[in-house]
Symmetry: C2
Subunit: 390 residues, 2 copies
């Protein structure tokens, strides 16, 4: 399969069209930061700034829908609420916000296929995350929620979240500080952190449309046509060998569990790192979401990111590449491929960060370095080949 | 047609199932207020509180899509961004928040049918609203935005917004203060306010699935099957006589313009009223969204809301009732029917509020009174009949 595997499904990993659409908008107070940062409109304090971030769990919710239809257990949607919340939380971590947030949620469903029990479980899922983070000094206050029946617009369900935050301007992590000579510390997306109740497959919540169609059996398209766009070439959809309850070799859980493994938040770890190492020692933080391992390319100036020591590829992602015949180059710019968070720091800062991470149950290592370059480039060297993204 | 006109389309106007799903959640600091209000997690000030509200333009975006496909003009989506923003803003007005907000937006599209130009216009639409309100002392700072291609989940497009705010606890409008003897002041949803550039049809952004199918011609379902749920009974969809460019008698604009008339914000008016009349004189504020004229039933205790002097029904809503054969009782619990905002106040406060509203170009009048009742009830007396909602 060519590098357009994802585009055949109507999804752009590089989002060029979106970037063009928002090109003229105000870049905010810290144009180089991971999220747009505004003035402190809610506090009126010139020493503070603010950010608000909205995102949803995307098509991972469709996999939960398939699992729900097979098992009848609506509680699988708790994890989807975690995905939605963490996709916002971990983006905001990357600007240095870590401990005080206001949370809202949105659920848009097709009422013909999604019963009220699913809404109840999703709402409980947000609450689970909020409670689990409180012991680590992370306070999230839930306020508004909106649930709508949108059958003419939504085939199954969309589960979203928004977080708002304020922070001191001198505490902002501004990725424009990334410089040649920095090392890149990666924090594993797999394993089990001390604040987690079970191991994570490492899949996160990007590339999920591709994952679903690459792994799952044609049956699902036939039985649940509402789970796909009728406009997509049928050859590109549900073209995998697996059912959700299958346990392929080397995967310590079912395919369903691995795809639906809720996205880990790195919040307790980053709070610890900010406290011990200090924010000022961190030149950049990148959440490897859309764009995967190439996400860093949008940050810093005149930097070549050279990644030569990545984590082993999580088994579930290997299966996607194998059964979906997705080329390695596309895999690295679609999925996190082993670490969903990376920090650009001075080499002498790295060991302490790695130690703190390991103490909290998350593998961490120096995965690469930052070099000088006429323009931003990402070079990834792996056992399956070397790839350059310009 | 029976009272189930809306349910046939898969939409619940009363949202009973949703209310059951969220029944156990924390009601917040002011359980009687229009929106859930949390502690001041972002400021840590015990005298303050906070709220965050997310909502989207709903299926009104589908009408914009049809118009866009017919005319090729993507700028119609600017109004949809206004709808999304105002559905949040005017809910927050009802707790007394009026002048400082943090804004985020979300756009989920089907990339096969929605080009990048639509995203650009929608984002410009948010910006238009922000700019138009600044001269009235209303400061909205735009921060994050997220745009995703979700073809397997979204048939056309969903355009959403989130607003976060902080306010002093002693400035909160707490609808539990609504009391027998209060009058209900209604603020018209039609006409042209001083901050608006054209007259409003009064449709707002609730009941839009019903509006579209009641008014628009069968052609639209045939030409644009992506604009509806294939699971809905075809008899219930696109069963009207109109094309978007039609101008029925008594409607001073085309059907398309009337359906797509962007939802008015009452923010400049309420800011003026809060300044001149004072928040403490206002016992309740209700944004007549889902539930229409019966929305007030969820607020106050042991109140019978008797509405006997409503505004003339906006022509576009008359057309929906007529061509959709929707019974009057259902119309009043689905659409705003003439005023989208109402205030419950002491009778002596009403004249000043009405004067201020008229000065700003919005008709206002006493539409009803609050009486004692064993439980909350809404009684509506109109030229087409009297209806009780229990």
């Amino acid at each position: 399969m060519s590098t357009s595997a994802y585009q055949k499904l109507g999804v752009s990993a590089t989002k060029e069209e979106v970037h063009r659409a928002i090109a003229g908008t105000d870049p905010g107070l810290f144009p180089g930061a991971f999220c747009r940062i505004g003035t402190d409109v809610l506090g009126g304090d010139p020493d503070y700034c603010s950010a608000l971030h909205s995102d949803d769990a995307g098509t991972k919710a469709i996999v939960a829908y398939l699992q729900f239809r097979e098992t009848g257990n609506a509680d699988i949607f708790r994890g989807i609420a975690q995905d939605a919340l963490v996709m916002n939380l971990d983006d905001l971590l990357c600007i240095g916000a870590v401990d005080r947030f206001l949370l809202g949620n949105t659920i848009n469903r097709n009422s013909f296929v999604i019963p009220g029990s699913v809404i109840g479980e999703a709402i409980a899922g947000y609450s689970d995350v909020v409670k689990s983070l409180l012991p680590y000094g992370i306070e999230i206050v839930a306020t508004g929620g909106e649930t709508a029946d949108m059958n003419d617009a939504v085939r199954t369900i969309i589960i979203g979240a928004t977080l708002a935050t304020r922070l001191r301007r001198d505490q902002v992590i501004d990725n424009s500080r990334i410089q040649p000579g920095d090392v890149i510390v990666g924090f594993s997306s797999t394993g089990q952190a001390v604040w987690e109740s079970r191991p994570n497959s490492g899949i996160g919540d990007n590339g999920l449309t591709l994952a679903r169609h690459a792994l799952l059996h044609r049956d699902y398209g036939t039985r649940f046509p509402e789970s796909m766009d009728p406009g997509v070439d049928r050859q590109a959809t549900y073209r995998g060998p697996f059912h959700l309850s299958d346990r392929p070799a080397g995967l310590p859980m079912t395919i369903g569990e691995a795809i639906l493994s809720p996205t880990r938040t790195y919040a307790p770890l980053l709070k610890k790192i900010f406290d011990v190492v200090g924010r000022s020692a961190i030149h950049g933080l990148v959440h490897n979401t859309g764009g995967g391992q190439t996400k860093c390319k949008s940050f810093g100036k005149s930097i070549k990111y050279v990644k030569t020591n990545l984590f082993p590829v999580p088994r579930i992602l290997e299966l996607i590449a194998e059964h979906g015949q997705v080329e390695s180059k596309e895999m690295y710019q679609t999925f996190n491929m082993g670490h969903r968070l990376e920090a650009m720091v001075d080499p002498k800062t790295a060991p302490e960060m790695i130690r703190l991470s390991q103490e909290m149950g998350i593998e961490a290592q120096v995965v690469g370095v930052c070099e000088t370059s006429p323009r931003n480039v990402v070079e990834i060297r792996t056992p399956t080949g070397s790839f350059e993204y310009t």
